[in-house]
Each structure stands twice: as structure tokens, then as C-alpha cells.
Amino acid sequence: MASLHHSSAVKAAKVLMVGAGGIGCELLKTLALSGFQDIHIIDMDTIEVSNLNRQFLFRQSHVGQSKAMVARDAVLRFRPNISITPYHANVKDSDFNVEFFKQFNVVLNGLDNLEARRHVNRLCLAAEVPLVESGTTGFLGQVTVHAKGKTECYECQPKPAPKTYPVCTITSTPSKFVHCIVWAKDLLFAKLFGDKNQENDLNVRSSDASNSPENGEDVFERRDNENIEQYGRRIYDHVFGYNIEVALSNQETWKNRNRPKPIYSRDVLPGKLNHQNGNVDKSCATDDLSSVSTMASLGLKNPQDEIGNLSFDKDDQLAVEFVTAAANIRAASFGIPLHSLFEAKGIAGNIVHAVATTNAVVAGLIVIEAIKSPLSLEINTHHSKLRDFVEKIVKAELGMNSPIIMHGVTLLYEVGDDLEEDMIANYTANLEKVLSELPSSVIGGTMLTVEDLQQELTCNIYIKHREEFDEEKEPDGMVLSGWTQAPLEKKDDNKKLVGNGGSTSTALPTEGQKEVELVEISEETEISGKKRKQPGISGDETNNHNEIQKLDVVDDGEDDLVILDQCDIDKKKKKRLQ
């Protein structure tokens, strides 16, 4: 049997992968094993330690290197003779224009953000190249196919926007821990360590129209006679003490809300601060969630002038500790439950939780979809007759015995025992007609449906008109290509090809979406039926679940493994010509 992954279509295909991370590593491996020989891969990132739990092509020694390059080298080790072209670049670069995309048979996305996905979607539409989209987070995964002219594009379904919060909630009236994190990260951290000239809402008070610093002096500017420790305590007192007192003075704000408590460093600090090598330690919150008076010693790594332009990086341990501590102090002040360093890091860093298994499964599904380019037949629709199509393609190549051939709702031909006289006459006449002159004209762009009910085989064949054929290589004047269950052997007259069981799933006229959903809720989430989101996880990994249809397995809460049927045609209903 001509195995699918040695098919010439796969061998000749040129594939573009966007992303060499969690999905990318699994995908590249599976593509290589499946017989793809020309793969291009774009990724602008470098390897980090936290990648290694699932991006198995990378090792500890590769940390810091380009993902695209290392992934390529790793796969060449077990498939040395294929071509993998890596690009350590941003897919939004102008180099990757429509012309670039046009060279590929299919584009496979393994991205982690909405913006890049949109960008790729538009380029694929412009280049008229099919796109297989995918995403995973935790145990949830999804694969969708977008082919211009046949299915909706990626952006046809609205995607949820990333969560944002009103400014006054952050600056004045936080009620959740995440508000404190945003305050600590985007306001306090940014003000202290970031760009001095950047606008910052830190001193904005909901009732105060004026934003100018008091006494014309910038509170955050370190004074000449101040050492680090003094500076630290002063800032501490200002943001956690003074600012709160000022906010409290506006009674309106607190009519229906719990009043926050100002916190001063003298109340919480021990006698002296910790010093280390002359650099004052950053504050570090303990994990003691029950203690309101979190012991914190606020210090600075370096005065702002020397750093100038630090932005929060979740992999900077000190930054994470600082933000966690600041957020927890603020939370304590406002009566919001404290969080551990681990939890805070996840929220502040927009960390997407991830495991290897989900990515492996999704990668498998992506490759299946990539291989399933729809069956298409190149044929001269003005010269070839229906009879040729039936004998040479439907019976010989596809191995159907009792085929039914339809164009939309029109039955062009069928074989059966219980047919009426006039229908038989109709079909006999049709056989002798050229395709373009059939009652329902079959021309370039037509989609024919060919079925054998007994074999439980259905195929959609996309007709492409072609004028000339090579007399030697293509004596029949017809070329069939694409995914089919029946082996596409060049027919041997003695060999009878038996159709295969199961239904076909080729690309659809309307929606081409296949979704596999592995549902798991982690400890913190509540379960009620078919739920998902873990609180505190923001970022772009939200999945579009609008198309979810039948579930084969009832989920009764947490940790269900649910596999969905394709929400599409399994069997087209037979429509009789009236």
C-alpha cells in the first residue's frame, strides 16, 4: 500500500512553520518523521531554562541560543537528508512578505500571541496559502484549518482581547491581587527603575486633578545626602503610607469600600536592613500568607540614574521578588489576600502553563491536517467524458464498486439495483457527455462528491481544468492528487483496490475546523460542567471554543479527556434528483 508519508505530495511539499517553541519542537519532529523534506522555520526567541520541560529538542547547554537554529540541528540528527531552513527573526519583519509566503504549500502556526497570529493570517490570505492554526495551554489544545475560498479565516471568529484594568482601580481602589501586581509592576517598578521620562500614574489620585509633584520636587529623585537605605525607606513610606493617607482623606471613595491601611517602614522593619556586598538587597516577601505585617526590607539594586531603563522581566529574580513584595504590601494594606512568590510570578509574567503531552497531541493533529490537502483532479473538462472519470478515477484509482457521483445536489451517476428505468437512461446518457456539458456542468473549480455507501467511503474531488497533458506520462489525460484513504496506486488491471472503511475528511466547502480538546482544570479552578479558564492567567492563549460540538465523553468535572468529533461532514446525505 502506498503509505501516506511516502506519497509524492508530501515529499514535494514546501512547508513553513512559524514558531519553534512548545508546539514547534513537536511539530518539526513529526513533520520530519512523516516524510516532509523541505521545511522552513521562523522563530525570534532564544532558549530559556523554563522551556526545557517540553521543548525537547533543546538542552541545558543551548540556553541563550536561537530556537530555530537549535531545533533544526536536533532534527537533522535523526533525519540528516531533509532540508530545514531556520530564520532567527520576527515573522513580522518585512522580509517575510507575500512573495515569501507564496512559495509554500501550507503554513503551520505554533505561536504564542494574538498579534503575530493575525499578521500571519493576513499574509496567508494575501498569498492564498492554507494556514493551520493551533494553540495550547495546560491540557487544552486546538487545531483549526483556514483555506481561502473554502473555510473562514482565523480572524472571522472574534478573539477575546487581553484583560485590561481601569486606571483608577490600579492607582486607587484595587480589589484583587492582580490589581496590586499591575500597580507594583507597571507603576512602582517602572517609576523606580524604568525610564525617568516616561509618563507614570503612580502619584495620580482619583480625586486630585493636579498631577504635579508636591513642592515642585520629584519625590522619587534621590536626595544628595541620602544613602540607599534612607532613600528606600522614604519611598516605602511615600507609596505605602503617605499616598494611602491622602487617598483616605477623600471620604467619597471609601463610602462603599473597605478603607485601606497606611503602612510605614518603621512599623514593619527590624532594626537594620540586610546588606550584601554594598548593594542593598531587594525586598523579599515571605511566603507566610497569614501575616498582614509582612516583614519587608525595601532596598534598591542601584539608583535609578545608573540603570535608567529597566523593564520588568519575569526571569529576573530580583525584579520578581520586588514586584511580589510590593504587591503583597499593597494587598495587605487593602485587605486583599497575599500570594506566594510562585503565584505572583505567574501573574506578573503572564506565564502560560504548559506540558509536553498536549503539544505532542496537537502537533500530531496539525500534521494530519497538513497532509490532508483535498483531493483534486486535473482534467480537460471539455474533452474528457464522465465515463473516463468513472472508469479511470472512481473505479480504478479510488477502488469504488458502486459509486454515486454528485455535483452539489445533482446526481450525475450512480450504480444500484433499485434504479428506475428513466434514471438509468439518464445516467447512460451522462456517461457519454464531456464534463462541461453535463446537466450540471462540471468545470474548473467544481467540487464533485463521490461516494460508495457499501464501502462507507466518501470523497470530495476538486476539479481543476487543464488543457494539455503529456501523452507519455499522463496518457489518461487525468491527474489525481491529495489525501485519500484508498491507495493512489497506478492501476494494475489485475489488482482490485478495495475501498477503505471509515469516513473521509477532506477540506470542506464551508467550515474546516477540527478540534481536539483535552480538558483539565488545575487545582485552583472551580468546576461546573465544561469550564476552563484558570484565574490569574492572562495572556493570549485563550482558545476560541465557539465551534465545539459533540462530546463523546461526558465530563463530570476536573481533568476530563474529551475528544471531539470533527464538526463537519462525516457522511453527506444522498440527494436524489427529483
Binding site: N53, A354, V355, T357, V361, S503, E558
Partner: protein, 326 residues
């Protein structure tokens, strides 16, 4: 800090997955011992997944030499003959797997698994068998069941574009979070009872619901054929097809089931599909990996008790094939 805590190295490496299943589950993983038999493509995928997950140890058994078929779907085997000559599949896979996670002890065991005694299997928490005759599956399953500690048993087989997983967790107790009447989170204890492989496949076919996956029956026919002919698993080809179809007819008669219930076309695919299809290996290996992680961590509803996948129609189905009293 007691010795039970995860090390700093582990926390850094496993950060993203700890956010999924928690530190407690991660600790349990690091103490678990897995035995795997039959290093085909799907099993290679499974091994990759659980090594990355951070299990305590993984022991591989497969004394076979490298073949073309093995190279085609197993990415753990270096294709260089100078490298693989003289080594068994288990040895080659072991070397590759170690690289994925230095914290996992990966090793090789040689010999005929069906001859090992109960004390051997007692060393493990999880046993996975693939490329096995029906007899061997039953035998090893029984040995696991006889032990006083619970050893979870799985079989996995992929042929053509299809895959099958079987799960036996014996008596399995685990906790789940649920919402009570007041919408407050609470934990409930669940108990599941699993039949052995023998018990499961002995359920008369006509007693099973009509919609049960045809792949289940087809796999049993192939299994029966290989057993009757004394073949090694997978040692079947086009020439055998007429005999297989004949056997199908006989089995269906014996089971009082209409023979058209098992499509000949499906049997043909399974007979001719010698090589595994890499995307199916990835899918089945991924799902099996997740099942094992669930069983070790005690979190999440485990699959009960068969799983089938066919890339042709993209359907993944869970079937519960148990005798009525279970």
C-alpha cells in the same frame, strides 16, 4: 525544608508544568518507576513525554535490533549504522532519552519479559506493554494484579493510521474537586474498578453497545489471527488477508454478531499497515503519557478502559468494555 521538597533545580525546570498539576503531583512523579516493553514509534513518544515530566525512573525492554521500520517512526534512534550496529532498540532509545532530562534514571533490562517473576514487576508503579501477543499481555497483566501493591498496567498498539490504548488500574481511588450545593469548592473521593485485559476482552461482543468502535473488534480479530498462527505481533501481510477475513467471519458467528459490523476495509488497512504513522504516534503517545501522569499524581479522571483513534476520520473514542459486575 524537609527532603520531600522539590529542589531548586527541579522547580526551575518544571515551573511551567507545576503550574498545571501542582508541586505535590510533581513530587509524586519524581518518585515513580515505569517499565516499558516494545520500543516502537508510539512508545518512543510516550517515553519522551514522561521523561520530560520528570518521573523517578524509566526501564526499557526491547532486545530487537534496528530495522528499516523502526527507523521510520522512532526518532530516538540515530540513523547512522556505525552508531546503531550491534545495539538493541532499548539501548539506543535509552541513550537518547537520558538527554531529555538528566534527573530521570533511564535504564535497560534484557530478557523475555513474560518470563520475569512477580518480584521483578514489584519494582514498578506503571507497566506499559506494546508489540505483544495477546498471551503475553494477559500474562503480564496477571503478574501485576497478583502483587500486593497496585501496579498500573497499560497496553498500546498502533497500526496503519489507528491506535489503541488499554488501561487497567485495578481498584483506583482518587480525589476530585467539586462544587457543593453552596458553590463552595470541596473534595470528593472517587473509586473506579477496572477489569483485567482478559476479563475485558472476554465480554461477549453481542453484549456490547452497537456504537462501540469498530476498531476494537478489528484489533481483536488481528490479535486472534496472530495467536492462531503463532506469529509475532505485526508479523502479518497482504497474503494473510483472505485468512484474516475468514477468521473474522468465524469469530462473528461464534459471537452471534453480524460480520458486516467489522468492515473488511478496516481489517485490510490493519493487515497492510506495517509501519506506524508518525502523527498517530504523537497523538497516542501524548494521550498515554497524560494517562500515566494522572495515575501517578492521583489527579484527574483516568481513561476507562479503552481508547481508540483513527486518523482517517479524526475521531478519538473512549470505550468502557467491562463485564457487568465490575
Amino acid at each position: 525544608m524537609d527532603g520531600e521538597e522539590l529542589t531548586e533545580q527541579e522547580t526551575a525546570l518544571y515551573d511551567r508544568q507545576i503550574r498545571v498539576w501542582g508541586a505535590d503531583a510533581q513530587r509524586r512523579l519524581s518518585k515513580s518507576h515505569i517499565l516499558v516493553y516494545g520500543m516502537k514509534g508510539t512508545v518512543a513518544e510516550f517515553c519522551k513525554n514522561i521523561v520530560l515530566a520528570g518521573v523517578g525512573s524509566l526501564t526499557l525492554v526491547d532486545d530487537r535490533a534496528v530495522t528499516e521500520d523502526a527507523l521510520s517512526s522512532n526518532f530516538l534512534i540515530p540513523p547512522n549504522e556505525n552508531v546503531y550496529a550491534g545495539k538493541t532498540l532499548a539501548e539506543l532509545c535509552c541513550n537518547s532519552l537520558k538527554e531529555f532530562n538528566p534527573m530521570v534514571r533511564v535504564s535497560v533490562e534484557k530478557g523475555d519479559l513474560s518470563r520475569f517473576g512477580g518480584d521483578f514487576f514489584d519494582k514498578f508503579d506503571i507497566v506499559i506493554v506494546s508489540c505483544c501477543t495477546r498471551m503475553t499481555k494477559k500474562l503480564i497483566n496477571e503478574k501485576c494484579r497478583k502483587l500486593s501493591k497496585r501496579v498500573a498496567f497499560y497496553t498500546v498498539d498502533c497500526r496503519d493510521y489507528c491506535g489503541e490504548i488499554f488501561v487497567d488500574l485495578q481498584k483506583y481511588i482518587y480525589t476530585k474537586k467539586k462544587l457543593d450545593e453552596n458553590n463552595q469548592p470541596t473534595t470528593v473521593e472517587c473509586e473506579l474498578q477496572y477489569p483485567s485485559f482478559q476479563e475485558s476482552i472476554s465480554v461477549p461482543w453481542r453484549k456490547l453497545p452497537r456504537r462501540v468502535s469498530k476498531l476494537y473488534f478489528a484489533m481483536r480479530v488481528i490479535e486472534s489471527f496472530e495467536e492462531a498462527e503463532g506469529r509475532n505481533p505485526g508479523e502479518i501481510s497482504m497474503e494473510d488477508l483472505p485468512a484474516v477475513l475468514k477468521l473474522k467471519k468465524e469469530l462473528c458467528e461464534a459471537q452471534s454478531m453480524n460480520e458486516s459490523h467489522i468492515p473488511n476495509a478496516l481489517l485490510e488497512r490493519l493487515v497492510m499497515g506495517k509501519r506506524e504513522f508518525p502523527p498517530v504516534c504523537a497523538i497516542i503517545g501524548g494521550i498515554l503519557g497524560q494517562e500515566v501522569i494522572k495515575a501517578i499524581s492521583g489527579k484527574g479522571d483516568p481513561l476507562q478502559n479503552f481508547f481508540f483513534f483513527d486518523a482517517m476520520d479524526g475521531k478519538g473514542v473512549i470505550e468502557d468494555i467491562s463485564p457487568p459486575n465490575v
